[in-house]
């Protein structure tokens, strides 16, 4: 394959340029994302420091899922805004994100299920 980062072809990201006016808009957006990420982190730390862990209890389960959702929101902002995946072609998005839907969700499910089973074995047999 030719070194396409050297050849001129308007459909490639290397030629994505913008002017000062557009840049101003982008910097505004970057500031917005920065504030969102910082606030989410602060909220997470506040919850983590004030609510003590009680594994298995109902309210701790809610806190736990809150943490996971907030983390996924943060991750989405980083990947879609900072890494500009949101602006890439659809096929590149799928190439990057599909492996997690296909493998990682299943791996999480099976690892948690199996480990609870192992714990049960340790405790009862």
């Amino acid at each position: 394959m030719e070194r396409d980062d050297l050849i001129v072809n308007d459909s490639y990201s290397v030629n994505a340029k913008h002017d000062e006016a557009h840049g101003k808009e982008m910097r505004k957006n970057i500031l917005k994302v920065t504030i969102i990420l910082s606030v989410i982190t602060a909220v997470e730390v506040f919850i983590g420091a004030t609510i003590p862990r009680e594994s298995g209890s109902f309210h701790w389960n809610i806190v736990k899922y809150c943490f996971i959702i907030l983390t996924l929101v943060k991750a989405a902002y980083i990947v879609l805004q900072f890494m500009h995946l949101g602006e890439e072609r659809k096929n590149l998005k799928y190439v990057v994100l599909a492996p997690y839907g296909a493998f990682i969700l299943y791996l999480i499910f099976i690892a948690i299920t199996e480990s609870n089973y192992v714990l049960d074995m340790f405790q009862n047999y």
Partner: protein, 289 residues
């Protein structure tokens, strides 16, 4: 940005050869694929951690283990990690600003923001070094008695001494703590009762290594996963700082003026954001949950 001008093309034109069907350059596509595989590695580490953690009934609570600040001492749950997270987020922001400057061919802007990114990365690394040092040294340690029970010690001014007959010398203000790092309330034992327990000491240990750690006496994996996950991430930060520094030098030398674009800054930017992304997950699953 990327892909906008390619959208009008038909499928045959896109996949017919002679152009990147993904609308990004070869280098950028390969960076994405590398990041996909690297993220799978980190997923494996974190899921392995989750597996081991769920095979134990009890696991140390993050805000009890990580509650110390440099120079200020104990009593600041998670503040130091939050600070580290914030440093990494800010350095990610300066990186995205460098990329933005690159799209305007603003060389001065790139140099400024990239240099700040490198400094942010170095700050994070130094914080990580302090965190490791503190984790390895521990906070007081724990004793095991003849009955097999473990008690943690309150903060000690200096490490315990062995007397000549091979027993540990009792510290002056003996405070024993039950359930120091676990869930729920911890209880303190002082005075005569504590001294009675001290009479049955068989073993003392403080700090953490790959075989034992004071935070979870029954679960050496607690420290192992701390070392492996934050260590592997820290090594990524380290390489990220080096790569950013090299790109910064290239930009200053004017190596990309000839090419007419600053895509190399974008590619290293992708890697740097990825490092931030991983930390977001490590922070949640190791420190918070």
């Amino acid at each position: 940005m990327a892909g906008h001008s390619g959208e009008a093309l038909s499928k045959e034109q896109i996949w017919g050869g002679g152009r990147s069907p993904f609308g990004v350059s070869y280098g950028k596509l390969m960076m994405w694929l590398f990041l996909v595989s690297d993220a799978l590695t980190f997923s494996g580490l974190l899921i392995g951690y989750g597996f081991i953690r769920h095979t134990y009934e009890a696991w140390p609570v993050g805000e009890k283990v990580f509650q110390t600040l440099p120079f200020l001492g104990d009593g600041f749950p998670l503040i130091y990690v939050a600070l580290m997270t914030f440093i990494l987020i800010v350095s990610s922001v300066t990186m995205v600003l460098a990329v933005e400057a690159g799209h305007r061919m603003d060389k001065k802007g790139i140099i400024k923001w990239l240099a700040l990114t490198v400094i942010g990365g170095l700050f994070f690394l130094l914080s990580q070094v302090w965190e490791w040092g503190h984790f390895i040294h521990g906070g007081g340690g724990y004793i095991t008695t003849t009955t097999g029970q473990t008690y943690h010690l309150g903060h000690l001014e200096e490490d315990l001494h062995m007397s000549e007959n091979g027993t540990y010398v009792m510290p002056e203000h003996l405070i024993l703590i039950q359930n120091k790092y676990g869930e729920g309330e911890s209880t303190q034992i002082e005075g005569a009762e504590a001294e009675k327990i001290w009479g049955t000491v068989t073993d003392y240990y403080h700090g953490a290594n790959m075989l034992r750690n004071e935070y979870a006496p029954e679960a050496p994996q607690y420290a192992n996963f701390f070392f492996f996950i934050t260590g592997f991430h820290g090594f990524h930060v380290f390489s990220g700082v080096i790569i950013n520094l090299l790109i910064l030098l290239q930009v200053m030398k004017g190596a990309y003026d000839k090419r007419g674009h600053y895509e190399m800054v974008e590619k290293t930017g992708l890697y740097w954001h990825f490092v931030d992304l991983v930390w977001v997950f490590v922070f949640t699953f190791y420190y918070l949950v």
